[in-house]
Structures are given as C-alpha cells and as structure tokens.
Symmetry: C2
Subunit: 200 residues, 2 copies
C-alpha cells in the first residue's frame, strides 16, 4: 500500500511538472508562433520589461546574414515624446504613440560587404522577423512598419533619432501588450507553389 | 485499494502523455529555435517528406508583408538534375547537389504594390526566415543562399527554372537532414544597441 502511494505521488508530481510546462507563461513551439503571429496595432498600456526587450534584441541578433556580416544596429525607443513624434511622422504609424516600446532595426553601412552592399536589407528583414516571432512567443504584440527604401520616411526617422549617414533605418517595430482584437490570417495559397520547373 | 490503483493509472497516463510531448519528435519553443538555427550545409541523405515540405511552405506563407500583398511564389525543387545544375551554377552553392530538396523563394512582380514596389524583397526575406526556423523546428537543416539582386545569379536560376520575367528569385533554401557538424553562433553584441537617440 505504501509502495502504491509512493508511485502515485511520483506520478502526480510528474503530471504537475508537465502540466506546468504548458501553462500560459511557457513559450509556445515555433510552428504555433509562426502561425499565430499577427500585426498588433492596439495595446493595453502595460509596460514591456527590460528583460523582455533583451529577449527581443537577442532574437534579432540571431538572424542569418550574407557572408555573416551581421550588419544590423538597433535603436530601442521608450521615450514617449519620440514615440509620439514617430506616430505623427509616419502614415499608418499612429499606433506608435500607444506602444510601450519600439525597436528601430537599422543597417550599418560600415559593416556591409562592399561587393554585395544590398544584402543588408535581407539581413535586417530576417532580424525584424525574428523579433516579431520572439514578441509573439513571449505574449507581446508587435507590428512591422516599413521605412527603407521610402526616402521621406527615412529622412524623418533619421532626423528624429539623430542618426549618422551610415546607419539606415529599415523598419520600426511597434511593441506592447496586445488587447486581443487582432487575429492571425490564414494565407495558405496552393497556387503559389510549383514543382521543379515553370511549365508554360 | 482499487480506487488507489485507478488514480495511479490516471496519473501515469497523464505522465506518459506529458512526457510524449517532450520527446525528440516534439517541436521546440520559438526562442530555442531562433537561437539554435544555423546554416546547415551538410546532409545525411535522408529524404525530406511531402508533409515536411508542406510545413515549410505553410510557414513561408505566414510571413507579414507590406500592405498585406503576400507577393511570394515558391518553386519546390527535388529533381536531382536541377539541384546539380544549381550547385554548379552558384558560387558557395555546392551543398545543393547533396540537398534532399530546395525551396526557391521568389517575388511575384504582378502582386507587388505599385507605389511601393521594392518591399517585396523584405516580404520574401521574412518568408525565407520563417522557412529556415520551421526547418530547424522540425529537425531539418537548411541554409539561405542569396540570389537577388545579383544579376548573373538571377539570370542563371531564371533560365534553369524557366521562370517568366515577373517571377524574380530572391533566395534558394537548401534543405536536408543535418549531419550535426554545424553549430549555432553566439552573435550577441551590446554595442549594436542604443537607447532613444544617437549621441555624438
């Protein structure tokens, strides 16, 4: 009987440990996050912590890059005045005044590979996508706002942030706690796939 | 005693169910995948299944895109002759002859937003990154091979795949089962972060 109880207790402990791994604080698997990510433009007002910001930046720096140049540079913006300036300067950027924090993903032109200077856009896009997925993974909501290659936008952001010529803003990621109104889209389209070769 | 045994059995069943979720087949959390992803250029030769290819394509189509244009198009290449042609045509593309499958991520110029035609590069880069993360998540190894905006490469790939002018190849993702020799890099660099404004 005591042996039976012992096994029962061990079984229950394992169950509790396992169930705890699936509680709301645990981080979902990568496929679920890829499919549940959505552009979140409304926020509750809750503040994103320094630990969360570091998780996002670490994800951003884990992207692949052409010739492993890692040509990214990040401006973390939590100053309310700057967020307000952003929101007033960028069409479709109104949500930035309500964001807890924004990360401006930039390319550092001093780090790009001179023979292939344009790959920084792809490197910094992969970095932006990593940050969006990390945000979704830790329960935050985020949206990618494109800056480069729109000249007027780039100029405005450069001026607000006092960026030198060699730091080029690619995107602004607006981040906060989601209100829950935004839902992911199903974008599956089989007609966008072909096998091996285009057939006329 | 019978009641005790019943509870014991239920406890053990939950334990087994939970442990199964954590076995090697389960998909790791998004942050672990972001950090364990690496460029995998050596493969065991094991064949990637149709189900796995669909998982990768679904991930690719779940990326965000400017104005939600979803301007991507995918060529799944598992024809050994084409993979060999790729490997002989692209510098640093040797691994393609050993890959089980390659996904060519393209932009469809008929879908881009005419006022902002260049954003397709960023959209397709986010799509490529989603596919790389999904591959890592399901135990495959992959590497991003840049094509656009290199004119000679683009021309070669376009010719091999018989692509029409409006389908522009951005990247080729070489995919297979990893041999395990490649390891992720720690690319954390605090000096690439500033707060709020550039200070001269």
């Amino acid at each position: 009987m005591i042996k039976c109880l012992n096994i029962l207790i061990i079984g229950l402990l394992i169950s509790v440990a396992c169930l705890t791994q699936n509680n709301p604080i645990s981080i979902p698997n990568v496929l679920d996050v890829i499919h549940s990510r959505k552009s979140v433009r409304t926020y509750t007002g809750q503040v994103v912590s320094e630990e969360q910001i570091e998780i996002l930046l670490r994800a951003g720096m884990s992207a692949p890059s052409a010739m492993n140049r890692q040509p990214w540079f990040f401006v973390v913006v939590d100053d309310g005045d700057i967020l307000k300036e952003f929101s007033e300067s960028i069409m479709y950027g109104k949500m930035l005044s309500e964001a807890s924090v924004a990360i401006v993903v930039c390319g550092n032109m001093r780090r790009v590979y001179s023979l292939l200077p344009d790959y920084w856009v792809q490197d910094c896009s992969a970095s932006t996508q990593n940050i969006l997925l990390a945000a979704e993974g830790i329960g935050l909501g985020a949206v990618w706002i494109g800056i480069h290659p729109q000249k007027t936008r780039t100029k405005k952001i450069r001026k607000i942030l006092n960026l030198p010529r060699y730091i080029v803003p690619l995107s602004i990621i607006s981040i906060g706690y989601p209100t829950g109104v935004e839902k992911p889209k199903d974008k599956w389209a089989e007609e966008k796939i072909i096998r091996n070769r285009w057939k006329d």
